[in-house]
Each structure stands twice: as structure tokens, then as C-alpha cells.
């Protein structure tokens, strides 16, 4: 018997004027698991979260959270969920503690309960020292932690985190990941949106890839990587040399992409033992000097590239246009 679905979405649609934000999305998140919703800016992630958290009304389809319909049973849904939105939704002029007291009370806790819970969460999220400082003086990482703490006040069964680490420095990001892992250990069901492939890979049990308001792929991180096929070879030459692509053509499993400056190349790798050594030796024999050789296991970035033909973020776009296909075997 399949596990109970805490989030169940069928054919969800939403448009804003002429823009189709969601074009029929289906999702299912079993209790106690993390679903990573992955996609570039504007893919529809935030729209989906807004509908699931009762902030926005769908134009079509249906969505249930913790068994309740998000449109007709919005108040019941609201009692089951915690939300940490993409833009911190804290009151800048209140202190961290006051924010938690206010949101706890409005979420249905009694005054004494709210006070105790606020102290617990401030401790848990390492904000105890800053508890009585006004939020406008908080760092980005502190705000995100407070935002997350606020979403946990009423001990929700389902948690929505919309890009919880966007804009954080690497250290704060890793720290946030630890916090998120801890939540699921407590049995919470979590839907997490992200633009970061490594984040989805790191945290999610299952991943759904969204682009232009549609689900274009879903599965575990491993299954998605398998779709892309094997490893990828990346190398950097000391100097541009057009003959290099031909020289390694026998060693790769697909077209070789070459960067504009002609020094960097990448291609799907063939599964050969000692591939890196063989590549270096081959190029050496051809009189081509190599600065760097790497054999990458596929990342989710590659998954995205394979699925959509374009990459995820701005770096990705730059790379997609930077490489032009020069030839295949």
C-alpha cells in the first residue's frame, strides 16, 4: 500500500494575463519525505507554492495538502502547514522574538505557549543572542533562519520552503541544509523549491524538474542522472588547438563541445578504465599540451541541460552559448 500523500496535485493551472505560469502540474509527496522542485527563475515554482499555501487561487486542477483542498478547505490547510517564502516575510521593525510571538499567536498558540515555543526555536536556530534585536539589523542568514523558525511555530505537518538558501553565502547555505535535514528527521513532510541542483541533490528524496509551468522530469536524483547517461569528460588545453577534438573523438560517446576561446572542451565520456590517463596520453602523442582533465559524474545541471536544451541559471546560459558544437565522431 502506498504511503499517504501529504501533498497531492492534479493538473494544476494558473495564468497571469497572457502568461501561463502553471500549465497542468501533477505532484505527489508521501508523508515524511522531501520533494525538491527544481527549475530556473520563472519556471512556476513560486506560483505552485503560493497555490499550495492558499495564497493564490488556481485557474484549474486540484490540490490537496494534508488531505484538505487548498481552495475549499483553506483554513484547515493553513492549520497544517508552515511556509517560508522566497522573500523573507518577517516584520522588519519587530525583534526576532516579537515576530515569533506575533506569528505564533496568530497561528493559534496561546500566549504562554507562543512564548515558550519562541524561546525553543530561537535556541534551536542559534538566534538566542539576537532574539531581542530588531530584524532590520539581521544578516541574510539570520533572517532565513528566523523565517524558517516562524514557519515551525505551530509544529506543522507539511512545510513549504521556497528557495530557502537563495542569496545565502556558502557557509550559511550548508548550515541551512543541516537545519532542513533535522526537520525531516522529526517526520515533517517538506516541499522545497530551489534553483540549485546541488541543493536538490543534497536534500530531496525525489526531485521534480519544472520548466515553463510543466513538469519535464521527475524521480530520484540517481534516476534523473541515469537519464543523462554516463560520465562527462572536461578538459582544458594550454592553447587552443582545433585538432584536439578530432584526436579525442574515439574516446568520447558524443559530440565534443568547444568553448569560444578554443581551450576548454567537454563531451560525454565513454566508460573506459583509466580514461583520464588515456586522454592525456592521446593528446600528448598529438603534441597537444593539457592543463586540466576531469571526468565528472553527471550533475543535476547536466540533467537540466539534457532535458531542456538550456541550462538553469545565468552561468548555465553563459556556458550553453559559449560552447558550440564543432564535430562528432
Amino acid at each position: 500500500m502506498p504511503a499517504e500523500l501529504m501533498i497531492e496535485v492534479h493538473g494544476l493551472r494558473k495564468r497571469f494575463g497572457a502568461t501561463v505560469a502553471l500549465d497542468g502540474i501533477d505532484l505527489g509527496v508521501p508523508a515524511g519525505t522531501i520533494l525538491g522542485v527544481l527549475g530556473p527563475n520563472g519556471a512556476g515554482k513560486t506560483t505552485a507554492v503560493r497555490i499550495l499555501t492558499t495564497l493564490s487561487l488556481p485557474d484549474g486542477g486540484s490540490a490537496r495538502v494534508a488531505g484538505y483542498d487548498v481552495v475549499n478547505e483553506a483554513a484547515e490547510v493553513q492549520r497544517q502547514i508552515g511556509v517560508a517564502a522566497q522573500d523573507a516575510t518577517l516584520d522588519e521593525i519587530l525583534t526576532g522574538r516579537e515576530n515569533l510571538l506575533m506569528l505564533g499567536r496568530l497561528g493559534g498558540l496561546r500566549r504562554a505557549q507562543a512564548r515558550v515555543r519562541a524561546v525553543e526555536l530561537l535556541e534551536q536556530f542559534d538566534l538566542a543572542d539576537a532574539a531581542d534585536r530588531i530584524v532590520s539589523g539581521y544578516s541574510g542568514g539570520m533572517r532565513r533562519r528566523l523565517d524558517l523558525a516562524a514557519s515551525l511555530l505551530t509544529r506543522p505537518r507539511v512545510l513549504f520552503l521556497d528557495e530557502p538558501t537563495t542569496g545565502l553565502d556558502p557557509v550559511s547555505r550548508v548550515r541551512m541544509w543541516d537545519v532542513i535535514r533535522g526537520l525531516v528527521a522529526d517526520g515533517v513532510t517538506l516541499l522545497l523549491t530551489t534553483q540549485y541542483l546541488d541543493e536538490a541533490d543534497e536534500l530531496a528524496d525525489r526531485i521534480v524538474v519544472i520548466d515553463h509551468g510543466r513538469v519535464i522530469a521527475s524521480g530520484t536524483a540517481a534516476a534523473l542522472k541515469a537519464q543523462v547517461g554516463g560520465a562527462r569528460l572536461e578538459l582544458t588545453l594550454s592553447e587552443a588547438d582545433p585538432s584536439a577534438a578530432t584526436a579525442i573523438a574515439e574516446l568520447v560517446a558524443g559530440p565534443v563541445q568547444v568553448s569560444h576561446d578554443g581551450r576548454r572542451m567537454r563531451a560525454p565520456a565513454r566508460s573506459l578504465a583509466g580514461l583520464a590517463s588515456i586522454v592525456v596520453r592521446t593528446l600528448d602523442d598529438a603534441g597537444i599540451e593539457v592543463d586540466d582533465v576531469q571526468v565528472h559524474q553527471p550533475s543535476l545541471d547536466d540533467v537540466f541541460f539534457t532535458l531542456t536544451g538550456h541550462s538553469t541559471g545565468e552561468d548555465g546560459n553563459a556556458r550553453a552559448t559559449e560552447h558550440e558544437e564543432v564535430g562528432s565522431r
Binding site: 484549474g60 486542477g61 486540484s62 475549499n72 483553506a74 483554513a75 493553513q78 502547514i81
Partner: protein, 287 residues
């Protein structure tokens, strides 16, 4: 494409009903929490705070000593005694703009979104705002009265009547803040709310009997002033405070029955603007 197999989304009205089923005690709790939150804001925002502390003192001193030196009251009496109710009118009318600015600021931040994901009473956002602004209006009135007492203003009526003289202003200020709530939701942001608010509220306060008697105004202005709700409330307050009230000799109905007129105006404004504000809030927060 798998299209809507489940129930079609219900109209927004259905959602409002389900969220509105919160018991009254919880609704009042929500209002109390948001009122507390808004009061903290006012305490911590120097500009908002000065609107209800420094400004009333400054206005009172300026008007009494600058205007007071040049205005002769028909029927006699000191300008100082005449002016305090007018300064209450002036200060409370313009400070009700705080409602528009505050709501507009909230709508522009993510805070309202977070509140909307909670199973709270949605209208508590508006009621909490209006109550916090009522309390600040009371503070503002307190500063005007204290300044007045220091410079020699004295009410000449029984204590209950004096209390009523202030209460009628606070009721009117509460009614105006619902109008300003509508403005806050229609405006693009706090700056435009403030700009438009000033354009509406400043003339409303000035074209009245608040600071000068209306009888020497040009006919059109005088007619507007005599029927201006601010004039009715000011005349009512002067009457209740036992201060000089030259408008009593004017034949316009509100000037003859200022207390009734002031109450009617206030109730009418609330009856119009409270439901309008609620509807606008729902519209602003539905997408």
C-alpha cells in the same frame, strides 16, 4: 493534458467564509495581537511617532501664537480657548493618514503574505490597524490638550462633557482612518498614499471652522466649511468643552446640531468605508 479532474476551484467567496469561521474570541485575539504589533511600529518609527507627539505641540503653539494674534472671534472669547478643539481637528485629521501609509507599507512587504498563510481572521489586519491608530490618535489628542493646558486653555464644562468633547473627536478620527485604509489599499505605495492623503486631508482640515471662524470666508468656501464634517466635529467638541463656538450662530443644520451631525458623519463614514476597506483588502490580496 490532464485537465481539472478534481473539483473546479470555488470562487473566492467560499474561501472567505471558511476563514471567517474562527470563533469570536479568537478573532478578538488576532485583532489584539496585530494592534500590539502596530503600536510597536509606531513607537519605533521616529517619523510616525513625531506625527502624534512633536507635531501636535508645535501646531498648537504656532497656531495659538501666530494666528491667535490676528483673529478676532465673533461673539468674543479668547482665540486660545477657541483654538484647542480646532487643533484637535487639524492634528487628528492629518494624522489619520498614518493608516493609509501603514497599510500600504504592509501590503508592499511580505508580511501580509505570511499572515495570509495562517488560519487567522483576515479582517484582523484592518481592525488591528484601525485600533492602533485610534490609540495613537488618543496620544495625539493628549499632547494637544496638555500643550493647551500649559499655555492657559481651560475647558468650561463638567468632566463627563469634557470627556465627550474628546471622545467625539476620537470617534471621528477612527471613522476617517477607515477612509484612509481604503486609500492605502488603492495607492501604489506608502509615498503615493501619503501624497494623496495630504491632498485630501489637508483641505478637509483647513476649509472648516477649525482654525478660523467661517463667517468671513467667501460664500462657496463658507458653505463647504459649514457642511464639512470636520466643522461639525469641531463645533460639537467646542460645545461639549464649553469653549467659544462662533459657529453656533450659523444657520446651516450641522452647525445648529453639531453633536448629532458629528455622530451621524462618523457613523456614516464607518458604514461606508469599513466594508469598502474589507472588500478592497480582499481584492488586493487575491490572485
Amino acid at each position: 493534458m490532464s485537465s481539472a479532474e478534481g473539483s473546479a476551484p470555488a470562487p473566492a467567496a467560499a474561501r472567505t467564509l471558511s476563514a471567517g469561521s474562527r470563533p469570536l474570541r479568537r478573532k478578538l485575539g488576532d485583532v489584539a495581537v496585530l494592534t500590539w504589533r502596530n503600536l510597536l511600529h509606531i513607537r519605533r518609527e521616529p517619523l510616525q511617532l513625531s506625527d502624534v507627539t512633536v507635531q501636535p505641540v508645535l501646531f498648537t503653539l504656532l497656531f495659538v501664537y501666530v494666528f491667535g494674534s490676528g483673529v478676532a472671534l465673533p461673539g468674543g472669547g479668547s482665540y486660545k480657548d477657541f483654538a484647542i478643539a480646532g487643533l484637535l481637528a487639524m492634528n487628528l485629521t492629518t494624522s489619520s493618514m498614518g493608516t493609509a501609509v501603514g497599510l500600504s507599507t504592509d501590503l508592499g512587504s511580505g508580511v501580509i503574505d505570511r499572515l495570509r498563510t495562517l488560519a487567522m481572521w483576515p479582517a484582523a489586519v484592518l481592525v488591528g490597524r484601525s485600533l492602533a491608530d485610534l490609540l495613537t490618535a488618543a496620544i495625539c489628542a493628549g499632547f494637544v490638550a496638555a500643550t493647551g493646558l500649559v499655555i492657559g486653555w481651560r475647558p468650561e464644562a463638567s468632566a463627563p462633557s469634557v470627556i465627550a468633547g474628546f471622545a467625539i473627536f476620537l470617534l471621528f478620527s477612527y471613522a476617517l482612518s477607515w477612509g484612509c485604509a481604503c486609500l492605502g489599499m488603492l495607492s501604489k505605495g506608502p509615498e503615493s498614499a501619503q501624497g494623496i492623503g495630504l491632498v485630501i486631508l489637508f483641505p478637509l482640515a483647513i476649509v472648516s471652522n477649525a482654525l478660523v471662524p467661517t463667517e468671513h470666508m467667501p460664500l462657496v468656501l463658507r458653505t463647504v466649511a459649514d457642511w464639512n464634517p470636520v466643522s461639525a466635529v469641531t463645533a460639537a467638541s467646542r460645545q461639549l468643552l464649553g469653549n467659544p463656538n462662533p459657529s453656533a450662530s450659523i444657520h446651516a443644520w450641522p452647525m445648529q446640531h453639531p453633536v448629532v451631525a458629528a455622530l451621524l458623519w462618523s457613523v456614516a463614514l464607518i458604514a461606508i468605508f469599513a466594508p469598502t476597506a474589507t472588500a478592497l483588502y480582499r481584492r488586493r490580496t487575491t490572485d
